[in-house]
């Protein structure tokens, strides 16, 4: 019989392993910095800096390969809280956070803080309301949990289908970010980069499932955190002489304000949320950084915050990680670590934006057009910064300086005149976090398609469990690559729409499933269906975040979906009072913090039954539902 998860211990050498990973990466940075001083070319530096860590991730994925079902789907339930926190933070922030959120703060300043605040608060809401109970349930996927909770295959399959939009959109956004960085720093086309990234994350996930997602994700998080910390701290030292960017960028507000006035940036009025969000193409920055509620009203700020908070709380890719630690207490602790790391990043992003804005405005927008810095032509060729003296006044004003939102983070080291190796380091950090998030989303999608659709539909279980998961993961990676090659995707709008879908579809359903024992299968279906329908309607009418022609903005629609879903779930549960004894027992047991996971106990009972009656066709109690 397998060892209960609460008695399992993590590998005692994990700290040493990741110490070696960290040391190796720091050594690589130092080595390449020396090579740069010795005259190594930028191509050699960027290729080594980006490809060497990829080889390391692949090595870790091979080392954590597994054919055990429990290892594949929940990493053996023995991941230490801090390591789960690493992957939770990388999944929540992602490449979208590192590049796109920072760029959004650059353009919107004060108003963009709603996004970071929403992510962080969402992790708290999920950690308090959902995570401990999902850990106790122990199901491998979110739809499996809902299926077991309501003893319903229909709920399980429906949840798997409605989980597709939020998870697939986030997967596409993260892959796009990784591909964009690869195109800028490696000699590859966008299509080749997308296909290579899809193959890389596909192989990583297929080799070890949740186990390899966890251990490669931890390494990717460390590489990303080191890269960001080194670059931003160095810029902070260059600009303020103090290595604490989060504390020092406040000192620069008066200089920034002066630079903005010189460049012709004037206060603006809100013009709807969709119009406020910056697009991916290079655009002029027309809003003062510190102006509160200039691009969106207070109500828009609050609804965007709440939509993202509820979406993050109910995000399947984060909640799927609720079963990987050895106990409920450890799971709570890991969420707290993840939240701390997300908060650290979100507190750092405005510093990056302020540093970049001050440097760009001082070096470009306040000098004569004939004295522009040399690096500008390089960024112009890469479509990151475009400028021209359109009005012929001999200077570049803010309206003549077009900057790509997603390039701000990558531009910063060069604009601060740091060695090229730090630009490559920033790119490595961005790609590492994007890959960590993409593998999490890919695993969530593939595992759910295999477990909650294929295994439920194919009663004869033609394919073994892991083979079905491998096939689903490979197919999902391929589909994501094809989608990215043929479709134009804006990572910001796609990621925000994904979180809006997650909030509308899953928040009310999970709230009722976990906190209201009288919720019935009809109630769950009504809550999930209503929330999903509201979002589909909003996308059909308003085009998601892509268009702002309708008063029904995506965050408002998402919050309406949550509210209507709650009402529909309660009404349907009260009308069809069919809650069975088994469902009530499941609810009571789910709230008991002691003992093993419900799913594991069901598996152990099934295994014991199979031993007693080897000829009988034993069906695990949990999966029978």
């Amino acid at each position: 019989m397998s060892v209960p998860s609460r008695l399992r211990t993590a590998n005692p050498h994990l700290g040493a392993y990741y110490g070696i990973v960290t040391s190796a990466f720091v050594s690589l940075i130092l080595l390449l910095a020396m090579f740069e001083q010795l005259g190594a070319s930028q191509t050699v530096l960027s290729e080594t800096m980006l490809l060497a860590p990829l080889a390391l991730y692949l090595l870790i994925a091979i080392g954590s390969r597994t054919l055990e079902v429990e290892d594949f789907f929940c990493s053996g339930r023995r991941v230490p809280p801090i390591f789960n926190g690493f992957v939770l933070a990388a999944t929540a922030v992602g490449g979208v956070g590192v590049l796109v959120y920072t760029g959004t703060v650059f353009f919107l300043g004060f108003d963009a803080l709603a996004i970071g605040l929403g992510w962080t608060t969402g992790m708290l809401i999920g950690g308090v309301l959902f995570v401990p109970y999902l850990r106790k349930a122990g199901s491998y996927t979110l739809p499996t949990f809902l299926g077991h909770r309501f003893r319903s295959r229909i709920v399980r399959m429906t949840a798997s289908v409605v989980q597709l939009p939020p998870t697939a959109l986030l997967l596409a956004a993260e892959m796009k970010i990784a591909a964009l960085i690869a195109v800028l720093f490696l000699p590859v086309s966008f299509s080749l980069a997308v296909v290579t990234i899809a193959a890389f994350i596909g192989v990583t996930v297929i080799l070890g499932g949740m186990r390899s997602v966890t251990w490669t994700g931890s390494a990717e998080f460390l590489v990303g955190a080191i890269g960001l910390a080194v670059v931003v701290t160095t810029v902070s030292i260059v600009l303020t002489n103090i290595p604490a960017p989060q504390l020092t960028y406040g000192e620069m507000f008066s200089s920034l304000h002066d630079a903005e006035i010189t460049a012709g940036v004037t206060p603006v009025q809100p013009d709807g949320l969709a119009a406020a969000l910056p697009g991916p193409a290079p655009m002029a920055n027309g809003k003062p950084f510190l102006e509160p509620f200039g691009s969106m009203s207070e109500v828009d700020f609050a609804t965007l915050f709440l939509c993202l908070a509820l979406g993050t709380a109910a995000l399947p890719s984060l909640l799927t990680r609720s079963g990987v630690t050895s106990s409920i207490s450890d799971q709570r602790r890991s969420t707290a670590w993840g939240l701390l790391l997300v908060a650290l990043f979100v507190m750092t992003a405005p510093a990056i934006a302020v540093f970049a804005k001050l440097i760009l405005f001082k070096d470009i927008a306040t000098v004569p057009a004939s004295h522009l810095p040399a690096w500008l032509s390089e960024f112009g060729a890469q479509h990151l910064i475009q400028t021209g003296d359109a009005n012929g006044d001999g200077a570049i004003g803010a309206r003549e300086l077009f900057i790509a939102r997603d390039g701000i983070t990558l531009v910063l080291p060069t604009a601060a005149e740091l060695p090229y190796v730090l630009s490559a380091l920033m790119a490595t950090a961005g790609i590492a976090i994007a890959l960590a998030a993409a593998t999490s989303h890919l695993f969530t999608l593939g595992a759910s398609l295999a477990e909650d659709l294929y295994r439920v539909l194919d009663r004869r279980q033609t394919l073994p469990r892991l083979v079905a998961a491998w096939a689903a993961i490979a197919a999902t990676a391929l589909a994501a690559a094809v989608f990215l090659v043929i479709a134009e995707v804006d990572p910001l709008r796609v990621a925000l729409s994904a979180l809006a879908f997650a909030a509308s579809t899953f928040f009310s359903t999970l709230l009722l499933a976990i906190w209201w024992p009288r919720c019935t299968v009809q109630g769950a279906l009504a809550a999930m269906g209503t929330g999903f329908a509201v979002m589909v309607l909003e996308v059909a009418i308003g085009g998601g975040f892509a268009a702002g022609q309708t008063a029904l903005t995506t965050p408002v629609a998402s919050l309406a979906g949550v509210g209507l879903g709650l009402v529909a779930g309660v009404a349907a549960s009260l009308y069809w009072r069919t809650s069975s004894k088994a469902e009530e027992t499941y609810c009571v047991e789910m709230r008991n913090p002691d003992g093993d996971a419900i799913y594991d106990r069901a598996q152990q009972r099934a295994a014991a039954t199979a031993l007693v009656a080897p000829t009988a066709h034993a069906v695990p109690a949990a999966s029978a539902s």
Binding site: F110, L113, G116, L117, T120, T121, M123, L124, I125, G127, V128, L129, P132, Q246, L247, G250, E251, F253, L290, P292, F293, E298, F301, A302, F305, I328, S329, R332, R333, T335, A336, L339, L340, A343, V346, M347, P350, W515, V588, R591, N592, P593, D594
Partner: protein, 87 residues
């Protein structure tokens, strides 16, 4: 109420803790958002106060609240386990 007073007490306290922590954080966020423009006339560490609270202050509050929640909930769970053993 059920026949398990320790269990009922644990569930009630867990619910109160969850509501207390979430309502505190959400209230703090909404109060800060509605008063941010007014707060910006005051300074803190060279930042306008309203901006500082939304960019850093609330995150510190949320992180502290989360670790506090973990500690209190662990104690509630331990108390339930002890009470059930005695019962």
């Amino acid at each position: 109420m059920t026949d398990h007073p320790a269990r009922d007490r644990h569930q009630l306290r867990t619910l109160i803790l969850a509501v207390a922590i979430l309502s505190t954080v959400l209230l703090a966020v909404f109060l800060t958002v509605t008063t941010a423009t007014w707060l910006n006339q005051y300074g803190f560490l060279h930042f306008p106060l309203g901006f500082y609270l939304l960019a850093q202050g609330l995150f510190i509050l949320i992180v502290v609240a989360t670790f506090w929640f973990v500690r209190i909930q662990d104690r509630l769970d331990e108390a339930r386990a002890e009470n059930e053993e005695i019962g």
